[in-house]
Amino acid sequence: MPRPGLVLDVDSSTPPIVFHHGEDFVLEKLPAGRSRVIYPPEPHEGLEDTDAAIRHALEHPLGDSQPLSTLLFSGMKLTICFDDISLPLPPMRKPDVRQRIIEAVLDTAAAAGVDDVEIIAALALHRRMTEDELRHAVGDRVYDAFAPSGRLYNHDAEDPDGMLEIGTTDKGELVEINKRAATSDLIVYVNINLVSMDGGWKSTATGLSGYRSLRHHHNVHTMQHSKSFMDRHASELHHSNWRMGKVLRDGGVKVFQVETTLNNDTFGTSALDTASPLSMLQKREWEWTAKDRATFMAVQAGLKRMPARAKRAAFQSWKAPYAVTSVQAGEVEAVHERTLEQNFAQHLVPVEGQTDVLTMGLPYICPYNVNSVMNPILVMCLGLGYFFNMYRGKPPVREGGVLIMRHPTPWEFHPVHHPSYIDFFEQVLSQTTDPVEVEKYEQAFAEDEWYRHLYRTSYAYHGVHPFYMWYWGSHALQHLGKVVIVGGDPKAVRRLGFAPASTMADALEIASDVVGPAPTITHVHNPPLLMADVT
């Protein structure tokens, strides 16, 4: 039975805590007597027979929905959409759960005599997936059967003929999604709900949409009123998506939602899993065995000798041994409520009250740098966007408090994946880091022909995407008094509008200028992921 998460009060006997530091790990000793560390619950047990669970879910739908087999009929137009490369993180070991579901759906469709099937990577304004990435997500069998005939492809939100306007919400938000999907008799959406932000109406209303729709909720106002965007009921981002979902439903777009949840077994816990050299990271430091400690030392020594490029390649090739903990299918909202229960059960840790300082170690990966480079803008988004928002109730740090993150934050960008990020960093952030001011540059980037060209023909995130990264952190920016990055490239850190520090002690010194001496500290232990339920 996996143990629940806990909050550890740091005292003088507490061992140093592991921090992610990009492609490195650092042990930090937190000040005794005023620090606490939030540990996530241990990984939940996976389903015993995932394929059986999938088949069961497809035929026993939740909410107001027929079983999949009764929804399929000969001569119909079926579109299967799936979450893109941004999920899960890191990518999971083969077979990917999307592949299992798509195969099951295709089997059912074949049995029903459905011929017109297309499969779309619902990547919104993310970069196109490469062949290898598509193969990993859907499996070789599906890929080889569909891709050569052009029936498996990446969503293209800038295809002038590929999008369809469905309607407008009661708040005046335009709803536009992929035309093939919109005009199908049924969309089967295949999701992975790694964190509670994912899924629900966000799958179709965001994943299959484009800039004209996204701008209604991917903006500073919405994000500052999503507290947090990981808590769907307190998230303006989700409210907007749910309004759009209503427009889709009312507009006759029929969605059969298949959602899955994973446990948080990022680095492998099984003692038998020899392919998990970093399994000690899943453990609580005081429970490390001598072997764990020795392995950790060896890994650190090895990383130290590795050139940056090799280190990056090694980490990017890591596939997590996640286990699927639930599969549910049927009507979107009913399915998603069940999914959230599973997410929260795996991630939530009850925490009492707020502290002056929040610390976190940022890993090498975020949703937008799979097989790529974690550039400074992504560092901001991961820390102030994703990690900061991993709370329910209120943030574990008080308003006006300080966030201290560890990440090398190199001034590096992937020239193919993130071209508009480079320009955003040079042209926008050099002028302002205030999200409201930043927003003024949005349209020029969003409607830029060159970025559009790169998004459509190369493997580039859309021109507007770096703005979304910045908006993702806007709630945190509003809430926090200061942000410090430990061990980052000082120039890049300053460009982000943050304070660089070379050690945690320096960072705490800088923090006390804002929050007063001897501040109280919360450290969110990662890996693996957790969500603070702060009361």
């Binding site: 297309e118 052009g150 992937h414 071209p419 060209h453």
Partner: protein, 818 residues
């Protein structure tokens, strides 16, 4: 009883002046206009190709800050109804075209008439540069005064011959120790009868000889080689121009050397003093009436020593141009000249320009020397020098300079103050040897670096080294040129000068002061001269390393001004760090079985040296040859593969800042134009970045394969410049308002065609050129996070890849409609 009133004597006089655009001439004109309000001036100015003599006078004389005071005074009087500065110039000054280096002074009829009515002619035109070519110095300095004398004899009534005041130099006395009185050169005890006519003939022959020698095949080959080394494969027209420039520079160098050695052989410090000395001698002959029994031309000679910034008039420290001592002083301040030869107790004979003006005006006012019976006495010679009356010792000067620069240091480009070195007064030979050694070390390093294929910041080292070498060369020149002056131990007598001073009334002494004894050297050096020199030299006198930075941002602002019309870009190494060979290799390996791919790339790379040298020889030929390799490639297949190459090779190796720059130009409304020798098919996906693209295009065979043959000459070298001109023509744009970005000297024609050239990551040669010409240099880097494969190998290809790519880019083939 002093009774000489200069203003009164000059009242109503018409005074002709040659050399008005020079340092001394400008000061003289200013003084006469301001302090002798009753005189008129006739300025003899050499017409230039670009401007009329009137324009030259306005731009080069009256705009000078020397006239600020007078302008201000007249503005005051104009307010009370008096005449303005311009009115006064209009009334009192006439400008005529003429050239002292041609017989008859090149005067037109009107000019002759005007000159014939002058009462005094002050000849101050000279080529004062100490390193003039021998023939030029001879024509101007040696023959100038005689030509004026002959012309005056020619155009004037014998009874109305004007008084010629010829400006010479104290150094006509030659290298000698001890007293050098105010006497004709041939009365000097050491004169050994140099025949100036033979010197003239010899100098003219030297010019002819060197011109002929420079055209010998081996010499021409050498100039061509040098031009190629400097420019690289810049195309025939530019190479030809550079070769010719090299040739004429060589001839000029030879003549400079000839002047220096001839002067030294006859005992003068340099060609200037030597030609001036013989000029005086020739003047004595030409002043005599050409007809027996006719009137001789009355003349006087004023010999200044080293003329430096003014003591008081028109304002303390006024100076024009970069004069003899300034480059030495500035080189010292910049820490470049660590030692300068000289004798510590030697006399540096410096004389402020306003004292020289005073002497000339006094001589002009006093008229030619006459006997008691009114007949002409032997011409008067007046030396305007400080050495005998108020000597400035070399050590004192150096101490003053050193302490001044210690207190007011000059800053280097990093904003660090430069500590001035202590001088040891070494002999000239030692300094020269030191500098020669430094030069040869730098030259070796430089040629090594030039030979390496360096780019960008590394190339800048080479270019910095070149600038170091030039600095050393300059220092060496100073030592060679001025060393003789610093070591000169002649003491110039000023009896005649002081006699004039004695005879001048109080007002004239105030307005036309010429007495060197009034100079307080410490004050003059540290409070007047050095501040002025430093200001004129535009050296950095404040800390902080902003200068360089601001220069490139100023240039960048010009480049990105909305006023520009078009921005032309080279592709390879300007936008992307790749080339046609890499593209070919990538595409060719795409469909090879894995085991052959590496072998193929290695084979192509092994060819690199020969490809590179073919490219250097003639880029068009190289491209034509190289593109043959595409023969037989199916159009469909290549088109599909290049879409992948766009992401895998081109974008991965792109310079994001360069791409941003293209887009900035577009956003500003400039037309953006890509001019590249790359194949259209290979760069199709990057074309949307630009408004227009000029590139190489291959013809397609009927069977749908490429032929490997080009439809047209690939745009390389001068064809690129032509392409830009044609493009501008077609769209009604102005090439002068165009910006061009390129990385190598083979793009020089394109860069030169553009009004605003930008060198991107330049290789060593272009880096040096860009620095010399003040072009903007940009360092565009690859994105740091990209994967940078060592070898240009296409990722393995399979059936499905191509299809997936095609469907994703060209829309769906199935479904889609409802």
């Amino acid at each position: 009883m002093p009774d000489l009133s200069i203003a009164a004597a000059l009242d109503g006089q018409r005074i002709a002046i040659t050399g008005g655009t020079g340092f001394l001439g400008t000061a003289l004109i200013e003084r006469l206009l301001r302090r002798a309000p009753g005189c008129e001036l006739v300025l003899l100015i050499r017409p230039s190709q670009r401007r009329s003599v009137g324009q030259r006078a306005r731009r080069e004389i009256f705009k000078n800050d020397a006239f600020d005071l007078l302008r201000e005074q007249l503005a005051g009087s104009a307010a009370d109804g008096g005449e303005t500065f311009d009115d006064m110039i209009e009334r009192r000054v006439r400008v005529i075209g003429g050239d002292v280096s041609s017989d008859g002074l090149g005067l037109d009829e009107a000019g002759r008439e005007v000159l014939a009515t002058c009462d005094t002619v002050i000849h101050s035109a000279a080529t004062v540069s100490f390193d003039s070519p021998l023939d030029l110095a001879v024509e101007v300095n040696l023959l100038g005064p005689s030509r004026i004398a002959s012309t005056l004899h020619d155009i004037c009534e014998p009874s109305r011959l004007p008084h010629l005041v010829a400006v010479s130099t104290c150094y006509v006395a030659g290298n000698r120790k001890g007293a050098a009185p105010e006497e004709p050169v041939d009365e000097n005890a050491f004169w050994f009868g140099v025949d100036w006519r033979k010197e003239v003939a010899a100098s003219r022959r030297s010019r002819a000889d060197f011109e002929a020698e420079s055209r010998r095949p081996d010499m021409l080959a050498r100039f061509r080689k040098e031009a190629r080394r400097e420019l690289g494969a810049a195309g025939a027209p530019l190479l030809a121009a550079k070769t010719e420039q090299r040739r004429s520079a060589w001839v000029s160098d030879q003549l400079v050397e000839a002047g220096r050695t001839r002067a030294a052989s006859l005992g003068w410090p340099d060609a200037y003093a030597y030609t001036k000395a013989l000029g005086e001698k020739a003047l004595f002959e030409h002043a005599r009436s050409p007809v027996t029994g006719g009137s001789d031309l009355p003349f006087s000679i004023v010999r200044p020593a080293i003329i430096e910034s003014s003591l008081a008039e028109p304002s303390p420290g006024w100076i024009r141009g970069f004069r003899m001592a300034e480059p030495v002083i500035i080189s010292y301040a910049r820490g470049l000249l660590k030692e300068f030869p000289g004798v510590p107790e030697g006399i540096i004979d410096v004389i402020p320009v306003d004292l020289v003006c005073g002497a000339i005006c006094a001589v002009a006012a006093d008229g030619p020397a006459r006997n008691d019976d009114g007949t002409l006495a032997p011409p008067r010679i007046v030396q305007s020098a400080s050495g005998s009356a108020n000597p400035l010792r070399y050590r004192r000067l150096v101490d003053n300079v050193r302490s001044w620069f210690t207190e007011h240091p000059v800053y280097d480009s990093d904003g660090q103050p430069i500590v001035v070195p202590e001088w040891n007064f070494p002999g000239r030979g030692r300094v020269q040897a030191q500098l020669e050694r430094a030069k040869s070390v730098i030259e070796k390093a430089e040629s090594t670096l030039q030979a390496l294929p360096l780019r960008g910041r590394q190339a800048e080292w080479a270019s910095n080294l070149e600038s170091k070498r030039e600095d050393v060369e300059r220092a060496l020149t100073y030592v060679e040129l001025y060393g003789a002056y610093a070591e000169c131990e002649a003491v110039y007598g000023v009896e005649n000068l002081l006699d004039l001073h004695q005879r001048m009334d109080e007002a004239s002494r105030e307005a036309f002061g010429l007495d060197p004894r009034v100079i307080d050297w410490d004050r003059y050096v540290s409070e007047i001269h050095l501040p002025s020199v430093v200001q004129h030299a535009r050296v950095k006198t404040t800390p902080g390393s902003t200068d360089r930075e601001s220069r490139s941002s100023r240039l960048r602002r010009q480049v990105l001004s909305p006023d520009r019309h078009v921005a032309a870009f080279d592709l390879e190494n300007t936008i992307i760090a790749s080339n046609v060979v890499a593209s070919y290799s990538w595409l060719a390996t795409r469909r090879l079985p894995p085991e052959d791919r590496l072998r193929f790339v290695l084979r192509t790379l092994a060819e690199a040296p020969s490809l590179l040298s073919a490219d250097r020889k003639d880029r068009s030929d190289f491209l034509r040859q190289f593109y043959r390799r595409y023969e037989g490639a199916p159009v469909d297949q290549l088109d599909a593969d290049t879409v992948d190459m766009f992401s895998h090779l081109l974008l991965t190796k792109s310079f994001p800042a360069a791409i941003r720059r293209v887009r900035e130009h577009r956003a500003l409304g400039h037309r953006t134009l890509l001019i590249t020798g790359a194949l259209d098919v290979a760069i199709k996906p990057i074309m949307p970045l630009f408004d227009d693209v000029i590139c190489a295009e291959m013809t397609v065979a009927p069977d749908g394969t490429y032929t490997g043959e080009l439809t047209d000459v690939p745009p390389t070298g001068e064809a690129r410049a032509q392409a830009l001109f044609d493009y501008c023509d077609l769209h009604g744009l102005d090439p002068a308002e165009s910006v061009a970005y390129a990385d190598s000297t083979s793009d020089l024609p394109l860069l030169e065609a553009a009004g605003f050239p930008v060198a991107v990551n330049p290789e060593a040669r272009l880096s040096a050129l860009a620095r010399k010409r003040g072009w903007l240099v940009e360092h565009f880097d690859k994105a740091k996070g990209g994967s940078h494969p060592l070898l240009p190998i296409g990722p393995s290809w399979n059936q499905t890849t191509a299809v997936a790519t095609r469907t994703a880019t060209s829309g769906r083939t199935t479904g889609g409609g409802s």
